[in-house]
Symmetry: C2
Subunit: 200 residues, 2 copies
DNA sequence: GAAATAAAAGAACGATCGTGCTATTTAAGG
DNA sequence: CCTTAAATAGCACGATCGTTCTTTTATTTC
C-alpha cells in the first residue's frame, strides 16, 4: 500500500508506469485504463508493462495506492504545519480544494468510488479502506478544534466530517462541469458557513 | 430529450431496451454499457438492438434522458404537491435521498458527470444541460422560501443550492460505500442544519 | 389477404481487450 | 569479464467491442 524507493531498474520503470497510468485514470477512469494504452504511452510493449503487475487489477490497485499517497502528501501532511485546531482544519479544507483543481483530470479516488461502489472485489475494498481512513483523519482534526475550544463541545465530529466531505464533492463536481473559479468561491463560502455554524 | 408514448411495436421494444440499458448503467456506468450486453439482457441480437439507435452514443444519450425524466418524476413533481416555501424545499431534499436509495445501482446522472466531466462531446454537453436545469429548479424552490419569509432575504439561493447538492453527493457516496442507514441519518441532519442556518 | 414497410437476425469486418508462453535483450553480482 | 538473473519484446489465443451489409421475419396499410 505504499510506494517504496526505486532502487533497481525494474522498480524505477514500474514507478513510471504507475505515473502514466495515474494520468490516464484521471481522464478515462479506472475502467478506461488498458494495458495497451499505457504501453503506448510509456513506449513499451504490452507484455513488458504487464510483467510488472500480475494482472490488470493489481495495476489498478497500485494506481489507487498512488492516488491515496499523493493526496496525503499534498493535503494532510502540509496542513500539519498549522497549529492544532481551526487553523489546521481550515488548511485541510483549502488544500483539498487546490488538490481538486490541480488534478486536471478527475480525482482518481472519487472516480474509483463511483465506478466500484457496487462491484464487490479488491478495488472496492481498498476504496472503502482509504475513504474510511480519510474520514477518520478529518474527524481527528475536528476533535482537536473541539479540544482547543474553537468548536462547540457538543460537536459531532463524524457529522461535520461528512458535511465537509460533501462540500468537497460538490467542489469537484462543479469545477469540472461549470468551471473552477465559481466552484472554489462557492466551496470556500460553504466551508466558512459550515465551520461558523459549529463555532463555540 | 423526452420519452414519447410507445404507439408502434418498434417504439415499445425501444423503450424496453432503454430500460434494460438503464439498469446496466446503474451497475456498470456508461462506459460499461455495451450493445452486446444489452442484446443478451433483452434476448435480442446485437444488430437488432443497434438498429434502434444510430450509434452507441445515441443509446447512451437516450439512457441519460431517461435518467433525467425519472428523477423529475420521482423527486420534483411529487414535491410540487407541498406548498411553496420550506415544505416544498424540504420535500425535494427528502425525496432526493429516497431516490438515491431506490437506485440500487448508482445514480446514472452522477456516474455520467464523473465519467464525462473532462471528455468533450455530446454526452458531456447534455450532462451539463441537465445539471444546470436541476440547479436552477432547486434555486427556484429556495427563492420561494425566501418570498414566503421562511428564509432570510439575503439568502444566496445559488449558494444554498450548491450546498444542498453537496449533501446529496455525500449521501450517494456514503450510502454506497458505508451503508444506507447511517448515510441517510447524516444527510438529514446535514440538511436540517443547512436550512436552519439560512432561516430568518 | 396481398403489398409495402418496419423490425430483427445473421454474418463478417478490423480493432482492442487481458493474458500466457517463449525468446531476446539488458542489468546486476562475483 | 562472465555468469546469472531480471527486464522487456514478440507472438498468439479467444473474447468482445461498435459498426456495416444483407437477408429473413413480423407488422402495418390498403
Amino acid at each position: 500500500m505504499q510506494a517504496s524507493p526505486a532502487t533497481t531498474k525494474g522498480a524505477a520503470t514500474r514507478d513510471s508506469i504507475i505515473d502514466r497510468a495515474y494520468q490516464i485514470v484521471r481522464k478515462e477512469g479506472f475502467e478506461g485504463l488498458s494495458i495497451g494504452s499505457i504501453a503506448d504511452s510509456v513506449g513499451m510493449s504490452k507484455s513488458g508493462v504487464f510483467a510488472h503487475f500480475g494482472s490488470r487489477e493489481d495495476l489498478q490497485l497500485s494506481v489507487l495506492d498512488a492516488a491515496a499517497q499523493r493526496f496525503t502528501e499534498h493535503v494532510f501532511l502540509p496542513a500539519l504545519r498549522e497549529r492544532r485546531g481551526l487553523p489546521r482544519l481550515e488548511a485541510i479544507g483549502r488544500r483539498w480544494m487546490k488538490w481538486l483543481r490541480n488534478e486536471q483530470g478527475g480525482c482518481p479516488m472519487i472516480s474509483a468510488a463511483i465506478e466500484y461502489d457496487d462491484r464487490p472485489g479488491a478495488i472496492r475494498d481498498r476504496v472503502i479502506f482509504y475513504q474510511t481512513r480519510l474520514r477518520k483523519e478529518l474527524a481527528r482534526a475536528i476533535d482537536m478544534a473541539i479540544e482547543t475550544g474553537e468548536l462547540r463541545t457538543d460537536t459531532d465530529s463524524d457529522q461535520l466530517a461528512f458535511e465537509i466531505f460533501g462540500v468537497e464533492l460538490a467542489m469537484h463536481h462543479d469545477s469540472r462541469l461549470f468551471g473552477f473559479d465559481e466552484a472554489i468561491e462557492r466551496s470556500e463560502r460553504a466551508l466558512d458557513r459550515l465551520v461558523a455554524s459549529y463555532r463555540s
